[in-house]
């Protein structure tokens, strides 16, 4: 069990905190300082966003952070350069999240190979169809030990959830409501869905995302799951931060 994501869930089954941050945001060279601060404050998983010009599943806050990161000069090439030696300092599992187009252009095998080289543990590519992953790319991801995490939503049928569970590796990312990131749909209404997911007893751990922004929403999301993912609220906290370290410390303390 060499993948850090698997190691984490082997030891911790409840309240796993995954925080998303766009790479190269707020400034190009903030990627590593932000990751270090997240680790220092006890965050369990770091999800690093690969910025894309047209992020269809994201709301305005994450899109704006992507636009800013791109104009800062962030790209996959620059990101892998920044991550070259990051494992000397950072030990928590790290996933790259982003859209398929830049990864396709970079080359799927090249991408997986680079992830393995620098020590990235997993990836989330929401617009990569599961069928195509299975028929074309799965062996490549497995060859380099890169876990690909798939999403489920409240509208996903049980049959499809089971299928996703059989293909997904590391964990399943359960989107709390049918929405883009950063909308304010009420988490309280979603308990029945979380319970339904829990009752399926999936082989993968389940992390819940979309709509978590503080301790109350994190606790609500994690009663029936293994943990949660925070993105938009964290980006908002960084947007106006004068001191990244204290902003991050304050933010994480407000969730845990």
């Amino acid at each position: 069990m060499s993948n850090r994501i698997d190691q984490l869930f082997a030891g911790k089954r409840k309240g796993v905190l995954n925080i998303y941050c766009t790479a190269g945001f707020p400034e190009l060279n903030d990627t590593l300082p932000v990751m270090k601060a997240l680790q220092q404050n006890g965050v369990d998983i770091i999800e690093l966003g690969m910025p894309f010009s047209d992020p269809l599943a994201d709301g305005p806050v994450i899109q704006d952070s992507s636009t800013r990161a791109i104009s800062n000069g962030m790209s996959l090439k620059v990101l892998f350069e920044q991550l070259k030696d990051f494992r000397e300092k950072i030990h928590v599992p790290v996933l790259l999240m982003g859209y398929l187009n830049p990864v396709l252009l970079y080359g799927i095998e090249n991408f997986c190979k680079k992830c393995a080289e620098v020590g990235v543990d997993g990836a989330i590519l929401p617009d990569l169809p599961m069928d195509e992953y299975e028929s074309e790319y799965r062996p490549v991801f497995e060859k380099y030990g890169l876990h690909l995490v798939f999403l489920v939503t409240p509208e996903t049928s049980e049959e499809r959830i089971r299928k996703i569970d059989s293909v997904s590796k590391g964990f399943i990312y359960a989107v709390s409501s049918s929405s883009t990131t950063g909308t304010d749909k009420n988490m309280g209404n979603q308990q029945a869905y979380f319970e339904r997911l829990e009752a399926l007893q999936l082989k993968n751990p389940v992390l819940i995302g979309f709509g978590i922004k503080d301790k109350a929403t994190f606790d609500a999301a994690t009663v029936h799951s293994n943990g949660g993912v925070i993105g938009t609220a964290f980006i908002r906290a960084l947007e106006h931060a004068t001191n990244l370290d204290s902003a991050i410390q304050q933010f994480v303390a407000g969730v845990k």
Partner: protein, 408 residues
């Protein structure tokens, strides 16, 4: 009409997985899976229902005013020394070909039990056509439009509002068609159950490219019949159409795709020149990529970020191209040309003075390349005149030769 004939297996039609050659597919996030899968599962069966075809045909006839005339343009023919026919989609209700598709999709949406309609629009023609059918059917309508386009297409914005639609500005990115499309897709993600997305062009995730093409294929179906009546032959030598996403071209080509003698000519928006950095000529500038959930040719940076395109015509201002057209380009089945802003304007002024028809700026791109086709006197050429120019009057007047910018 036979919108639902089974064409699987043909080289130029969509395959069972939604691909044209290596282009197409449905690269959607899981949040869109139920909506798109519902369409994929149902669209062909619904299109084949006799009741659906009857209602579609009746509305195209009595409401849209089809068949649209195939007009022999005598003076234009003399100028280019060939037999040039204009397929008059500009005479349709709402002034463009877009309504063929919105009629089809609103009937489909009703059969799927949807109560709310969303759409994207560039020039505003598709937005108007969508708002129109929503008024006709009494359904709620939200149209996303880039904030730049809202400014340059004011008359169409007013029409949509008068028809009862809510027009929402897309303020992200280049604030044009691509971003309007992003916002519509996001709306659909947030409203997965009651909403149908009436996509206006032959792009987007499968089944949209095929579905839109089938609804627009009434254009080529009529061309064949009308040409037979007028010339004694079904097949022209050339079919010429402008291409942004490519819905009017797809409709004009459809019944000729497997007729190799018919030369298909696609004209993209060259903007200020293909290599000027201000262009929307996707096949010349694009590489394989994914835009709006479709794998196709795409204008992008070397890092895979989608490039902001440029064209004087809001309807052609799109960095991608429908997957059918990417396939026609790659296989060489269609010839791709491009017209600059200036060439399109000149073609518009020329048609106006020769034939008394003011074309849409989009359609003017198709007209602009007639001089480059090496036509022979006996050649029969059909140009798809996809829309009328009312919405572009401000641009036309501003750019009139000799106009120094005073009041007109």
């Amino acid at each position: 009409m036979k919108i639902a004939e089974n064409t699987f297996g043909s080289k130029y039609h969509v395959d069972e997985k939604g691909f044209y050659g290596r282009f197409g597919g449905a690269y959607i996030p899981e949040m869109l899976y139920p909506n798109v899968e519902e369409l994929q599962r149902n669209y062909l069966a619904i299109l084949r229902e006799p009741g659906f075809q009857e209602e579609f045909d009746q509305l195209l006839r009595d409401y849209v005013g089809r068949p649209s005339p195939l007009y022999f343009a005598k003076r234009l023919s003399e100028k280019y020394n060939a037999k040039i026919y204009l397929k008059r989609e500009d005479l349709n209700h709402t002034g463009a070909h877009k309504v063929n598709n919105t009629i089809g999709q609103i009937l489909l949406a009703k059969r799927l039990g949807k109560t709310r309609i969303i759409a994207e629009t560039g020039a505003g023609q598709h937005g108007v056509a969508t708002a129109t059918v929503c008024a006709l059917m009494g359904l709620e309508c939200v149209v996303y439009m880039g904030s730049i386009d809202i400014k340059r297409q004011a008359p169409n914005v007013a029409r949509m509002k008068m028809l009862g639609a809510t027009v929402v500005p897309a303020t992200s990115g280049s604030q044009t068609l691509k971003d309007a499309c992003n916002e519509a897709i996001r709306d659909w993600i947030n409203n997965p159950v009651n909403t149908h997305y009436i996509l206006g062009t032959a792009a987007g995730p499968h089944p949209y490219p095929d579905m839109v093409t089938r609804f627009q294929s009434v254009i080529s179906e009529e061309i064949r019949k009308q040409l037979l009546e007028k010339t004694g032959r079904e097949n022209p030598d050339y079919v010429v159409a402008c291409i942004g996403g490519g819905s009017n071209a797809a409709g004009a080509y459809y019944h000729f795709l497997n007729e190799p003698a018919v030369k298909l000519v696609a004209v993209e928006a060259g903007g200020k020149g293909v290599h000027s950095g201000h262009s929307a000529a996707t096949t010349q500038l694009g590489k394989l990529g994914i835009i709006h959930a479709s794998k196709t040719l795409l204008m992008q940076t070397e890092d895979g970020q989608i490039t902001e395109p440029y064209s004087i015509s809001a309807g052609l201002d799109y960095p991608g191209i429908g997957p059918l057209h990417a396939h026609l380009y790659e296989t060489g089945r269609a010839t791709f040309l491009n017209a600059t802003d200036d060439e399109a304007l000149q073609a518009a002024y020329e048609l106006t003075r020769l034939e008394g028809i003011i074309p849409a700026l989009e359609s003017s791109h198709a007209l602009a390349k007639l001089g480059q086709l090496a036509l022979k006197p006996d050649d029969v050429v059909v140009v798809c005149l996809s829309g009328r120019g009312d919405k572009d009057m401000e641009t036309y007047i501003r750019n009139l030769p000799g106009n120094t910018g005073g009041n007109v």
